[in-house]
Symmetry: C2
Subunit: 249 residues, 2 copies
Amino acid sequence: MEHKTASADEQEDGAAGEASGGLDARVGRIVRQTLADQVYGDLKEILLAGRAAPGERFTLRGLASAIGTSAMPVREAVSRLVAENALEVLPNRAVRVPLMPRARFQELRLIRCSLEGLATEIAVREATDVEVAEVERFERLFAAERDKPAPDGAVAMCHNKDLHFALYRAAHLPTLFQMIEGLWLQIGPVLNLDFRAGPERVRQGEAHIRHAAIVAALKARDPEAARVALVADIWSAGDFILSRDVLPD
Amino acid sequence: MEHKTASADEQEDGAAGEASGGLDARVGRIVRQTLADQVYGDLKEILLAGRAAPGERFTLRGLASAIGTSAMPVREAVSRLVAENALEVLPNRAVRVPLMPRARFQELRLIRCSLEGLATEIAVREATDVEVAEVERFERLFAAERDKPAPDGAVAMCHNKDLHFALYRAAHLPTLFQMIEGLWLQIGPVLNLDFRAGPERVRQGEAHIRHAAIVAALKARDPEAARVALVADIWSAGDFILSRDVLPD
DNA sequence: GTCTGCTATGTGTGATCACAGATAACAGAT
DNA sequence: ATCTGTTATCTGTGATCACACATAGCAGAC
């Protein structure tokens, strides 16, 4: 029915009176942060940073006591992560970070190429100048880490993530961004295996070449070239991981 | 570390003894069905079938008493749906099925073209003969409903969904399929607006043309043609909804 | 009549308790 | 020594209770 009038007004504004002038305009909106949201964010960060190994198991009560809350918020956070395939519950009701069989890894790579390629194309067309500059900044940070005498894999991985995410954010498509984030949540634990493989990975890898190509295409506003470079980046990084024999099946 | 040895064995088999011969091999595995899973499935079905209007609000306790359980399983099910953007919680902590602003609808259409296009391409290459036959069957059911004197929009919509999902399932990529399902979960409530627009929508729509093209390309094993036809299907259906003025913003 | 402030009701959130089932350690038999 | 059956502990699941907060309804003042 009239779902249009039913809402869309209680979304942003709470003050029904005058819009500006008084004290009302100066107080920042308080953001509700439930405990479950907090736990969810923490687990997400752990997964994205690759600080959890595939197959690693944990318990609700253990997490709860570690954080200092009851099991309830943890339960809710885990439910969300399970819905996003970032965690899984075994038939025995045990919770763990999912394994990554080769087939699943290849499927995720395929999906990533499609979705992140799309985001890249659009970002190249829609990015503001400051967003372009930010992508370029992370590209330089990554390159700088690579050229160090003793590159730190974890730091490089972080810059890599920031570079990609800055690019995808520039597409200004929130749902697409969120879906990509969900994909990274799933591959995070294995990407970690890649970047912690040792400094030689960062050195001999072709990531910096792809990154340079992406940034060049971005500055030249060439969507197709950017997409091709990004797909090459994803694909070659995947090949490296597949070439090592760390994935089961 | 050795996450490989840590598991992958307690996944499928519970019997550690001999593989066959005894009674063990004949008993079917019991599937655990938690209450939360049940509620989750129910809500999912409601959303997919379009039996919930955008903006519609509900309460945990209300749902719980309607189903006959406590609020806890409902809470967990809602958490998952929220994580998938199929439901949303307002800052006031109210739960509702999300509104669909035009921009969001267009974004989802874009993502759908990318993901469902990918699934279609692969399905055309990977589908078995029985899967091809099943897609064709749903295509005929849809066409039959369309040619009736008084087509039923809901029935047509159901056949449409079955047709698409049978196609995507034939790609044999579980994660991709799940992501597409998540997208349909989000557009379900507005797709409903489309198909309930009246019989003339089913009649004058170009869906059946696209569907026929998809099936033809599938049988001819022409992935690119199938993808093009599918994208055209998604795009034109979206245009129809956009042309009506039911979406806010 | 309109607006302000209070009150009552209902909501989500989190804690705690009870229960079914799974894992693991252990005792006994072969 | 290996295997089997038992028991003890722990884990997820669901119910129930307590609390903070939002909304709606109502009374009072201007």
